[in-house]
Symmetry: C2
Subunit: 359 residues, 2 copies
Amino acid sequence: MAEEKAVRFGILGCASIARKLVRAIGMTPSSSVYAVASRSVDKAKAFASSNNLPPEVKTYGSYEQLLDDPCLDAVYIPLPTSLHLEWALKAVQKKKHILVEKPPALCVEDLDTIIEACNNNGVQFMDGTMWMHHPRTLQMKAFLQNPDLFGDLHKVHSAFTFEGSDKFFEEDIRVKPDLDALGALGDQGWYCIRAILWANDYEMPQSVIAHPVPVLNEGGVITSCGATLSWQDGRVATFDCSFHSCLTMDLSMHGSKGILNLHDFVIPYEENSALFYSSTNTEFWEMATAWGPRPSEHRVTADFTQETLMVEEFARLVKGIRDSGGKPESQWSSICRKTQIVLIAVKTSIQEGLISVTL
Amino acid sequence: MAEEKAVRFGILGCASIARKLVRAIGMTPSSSVYAVASRSVDKAKAFASSNNLPPEVKTYGSYEQLLDDPCLDAVYIPLPTSLHLEWALKAVQKKKHILVEKPPALCVEDLDTIIEACNNNGVQFMDGTMWMHHPRTLQMKAFLQNPDLFGDLHKVHSAFTFEGSDKFFEEDIRVKPDLDALGALGDQGWYCIRAILWANDYEMPQSVIAHPVPVLNEGGVITSCGATLSWQDGRVATFDCSFHSCLTMDLSMHGSKGILNLHDFVIPYEENSALFYSSTNTEFWEMATAWGPRPSEHRVTADFTQETLMVEEFARLVKGIRDSGGKPESQWSSICRKTQIVLIAVKTSIQEGLISVTL
């Protein structure tokens, strides 16, 4: 009975990045991995085996076969971004709810086509921005929303960088113009932009301008860039993303009364707990020889991984539609679309010679 | 004998910001406060008394009188920036070595006039960027210069902000167009720009562009702004300064192999020790469920305050000239000038509608 009620996932593609979410689906009581598809059934079987999936999990040698399975409720799409539009639409037309890896699309128009198809077919859309679902994110938001502890938001700075290996720069889909053409901007910048929007309660910036000097590879894929976002009332945000710098995931927010910062906002250093640091009403001491108070450390324990919590939230929404006749929750497509619009504005600024793009 | 050899300082102006350095001069064995001047002798006497200066310290009712004292070796100039040119030149013409509060001048031309006068008169110049002299700064530099621990520098981000009180916005010289017309850019941005140049081994950026939306008060003084600096090889730096956000002093540097960051780079949280945090070769663990290693905390103990160490270095240079016939050390004027050039480029970008300024 419980098994019947679980949301049955199909995995569309067996890339290694799928492994983490497959694990999360298996760890979420309300969901199960029902089928796995690759372009060959051998690959699908090898993926199922290496990920310790139960023997009853179906393996398909084509994405179409998986989508034709009437028992599937939902599809997780970890394919390269260039394939998202085609396979998201095919999945949605088969009435499958979709959980799509980020970036969900190469352009805003493609994302709108996907979201519109979801709405027309009554299926749930969510992108795979897993850190949104960590309990730390909620606790940080409570701090930001507290007028006595944080006050008015003025600045956000975010950076997500890692140093790609030689193999990464030769083989990874994130440096291939025909696969993940948005490169570091799509892979890392997505999270930074989402964090900036999240901190700004999803109020869109007025203008976006890319920083000099973006780095593009010979295929025209961005491997390092940054940008400044600004709001009419003076709020400013900056971010950096790069495949060339040491791994870090910085996020800091400056308010009139408080400061919040952390260095692992996308993936916490460890799965079962995460930290953030805050200061409130810091001030100089006598003669400005010292100041304080120092930032307070906040530890947030997590009984479930952020990916598990994301799957749980997605499954909850799917069940609401499947079992109770509910409608898709539009929040996730709305913030996804805003993220995509800002991301494409950064890309446009880079392409047009670092112009200021008005939104 | 030891007293005769000490560098005798005159304090030109009794602003409350002078107190910290007067204390430092008193704590430095190689220097002493010899005289204090204000626009009235009563004010000078009150300052001497409230700062527990010894009774033999002379008090003058005009700056000219102080400069005419033949026993003085050096002058500390904590006056508002708009008065620096006049009084620095007068001091230098009297062969006094000068330690000038930052920002040293309102424009590059004024600073050049001061530096040229110092060179022509054989006196030492130094600006009051005290964090440069903290032993932490040396240790951080050693980390940045280590190719195995940090690698190539790619990004610097810095922020220095504090929330001005109502009284600050009404009375402080830093919001007055006739006193410290460079506002937050001169007061806080100076440190951020210096830190960025320091991290880049004083190599000048190719271009500077201010961020939207700078905040100016009714007198046209910048109370909040930011900018992006870029180098031809792709290095990028961003900074924010503001009189409107909670007190923080962030500095982070991203290299190919390592990360360095701290939140109190201008004034350490406490005087007798300071921290910084570094990471090297951080990487994702299996399936990117976690990553590490976490940043290491480095504690640097300081037997002397950074202001004391600054005075000591200045006094060492003065003694070299006074006692050994040495020449002024040009390093300090050189990095001061570079800081001023970048600072003025940010101001120009703001004044010209956020244009990119090529250096």
